[in-house]
Symmetry: C2
Subunit: 245 residues, 2 copies
């Protein structure tokens, strides 16, 4: 059957990619994806045919990938991080009914939540919630309700898309919601350009995070009430009784 | 400085491991971890010195890893999935103060949430919460409150440790909490032995999941109100207007 891989490449370098992701792209005749992600893998597969499309053209991109696979060519749709976390896997399944049978295989990758957590220390050691602050596809009210509940239940929060040119204040608004349930001293962290040139990160308080200017390449972590700063790292204890004694 | 890697190996096979994880273990003189995880990497590194300890001996295991690294040997603590999601990274940071300086580097891996989601389709395409149902280190009341809030906020839920010999009914109790906010027809899924021999999975309803007997090698996914079954796959739409038209 015609084959379409949806590949999570992780942060983008070969080191943080699985062999399975590499092999899927190598097997593919055509690589398809958002142009910035295609740029990340072009040095690895310089001779591979590419279909690169701009941001917010997800539906068009997925239709083109499905049409190419349905025509008998093996396609790999390239996603940054994990293919199934705010990636293209879901949309490809949704659209696939309109095309002749294509076998879709999702190849997982290191998502920004895990890659960013590893840079900061160990913030996700206990129950956590992942929320995108982008209101392009989700009403802000829904986002706000999720933040409210996650904060009330003392989840560690990992925030994707904390900012963009059109919505600079989303992170501050998110912090204000969490601040109804946690103190300004709550330990937080952010990582920018995870695993790429110019990677930066910081561990800071929720009060400080409120005034931090994130960009669209930043992933933000808000600690639970148990999260601590240990030697400059953001660490959420899992609750081992003996630890630290 | 003395070096200690905390390595997420993903499901356990070489294919789903990053090169960075492989390289860290190759560089290490000693591999340390829960014996089942050490067994997974022994075929890859048959000649490497190993310190394998039983379940629930996390503190002892981390102390031994830190002492070995502090004595000047490079150590890799091996974790299944991601090193920072219910793994050993946090505990190692917590305990590290008691040892001569050791540089801890967390190497992320494919967690069961991402690997399991890829098997089922694309359940984590939108905001999700990860909750462990193990009450060994967390009171059940805390777990119940988190489930309640996550369900109320319409998060997709990914459940780790849904069952064990001592707590067979935790998954049913979790489903009952979610059923206060979602219909029994809500699309769910489970994956057992992800990426390993004997991998099994199913897409089913929340009503059916309530009566499902999970074991400790199972990861469970409960859909949001938007999650759908598409051609036997569990898919949470992200909300692209055109999709499916």
């Amino acid at each position: 059957m015609n084959k379409l891989y949806v590949v999570g490449i992780g942060p983008g370098d070969r080191e943080n990619m699985t062999d399975r992701a590499f092999d899927a792209m190598e097997e593919a005749e055509v690589l398809c994806g958002y142009d910035s992600y295609i740029d990340l893998v072009t040095p690895i597969f310089p001779l591979k045919e590419r279909i690169a499309t701009g941001m917010t053209r997800e539906v068009e991109r997925c239709r083109e990938a499905l049409a190419t696979a349905a025509a008998g060519r093996t396609v790999a749709v390239v996603c940054s991080g994990d293919a199934g976390v705010y990636g293209m896997a879901g949309l490809l399944y949704e659209l696939s009914a309109g095309y002749p049978p294509v076998e879709i295989e999702v190849v997982p990758g290191i998502s920004a939540a895990m890659a960013g957590a590893a840079v900061l220390g160990a913030p996700l050691m206990h129950d956590f919630a992942v929320v995108s602050l982008s209101d392009l596809l989700t009403p802000w009210d829904t986002i706000a309700i999720r933040l409210e509940h996650a904060a009330a239940a003392d989840f560690v929060l990992c925030l994707y898309n904390p900012s963009s040119r059109k919505r600079r204040d989303h992170l501050a608004r998110a912090c204000d919601i969490v601040l109804r349930h946690r103190t300004p001293a709550t330990i937080c962290g952010w990582v920018r350009n995870i695993g790429r040139d110019g990677q930066e990160s910081d561990v800071l308080t929720l009060g400080e995070l409120r005034d931090f200017e994130a960009d669209m390449f930043t992933t933000v972590f808000i600690g639970s009430s148990a999260t601590r700063a240990i030697d400059g790292r953001m660490v959420t204890p899992r609750g081992y009784g003996e630890a630290g004694q």
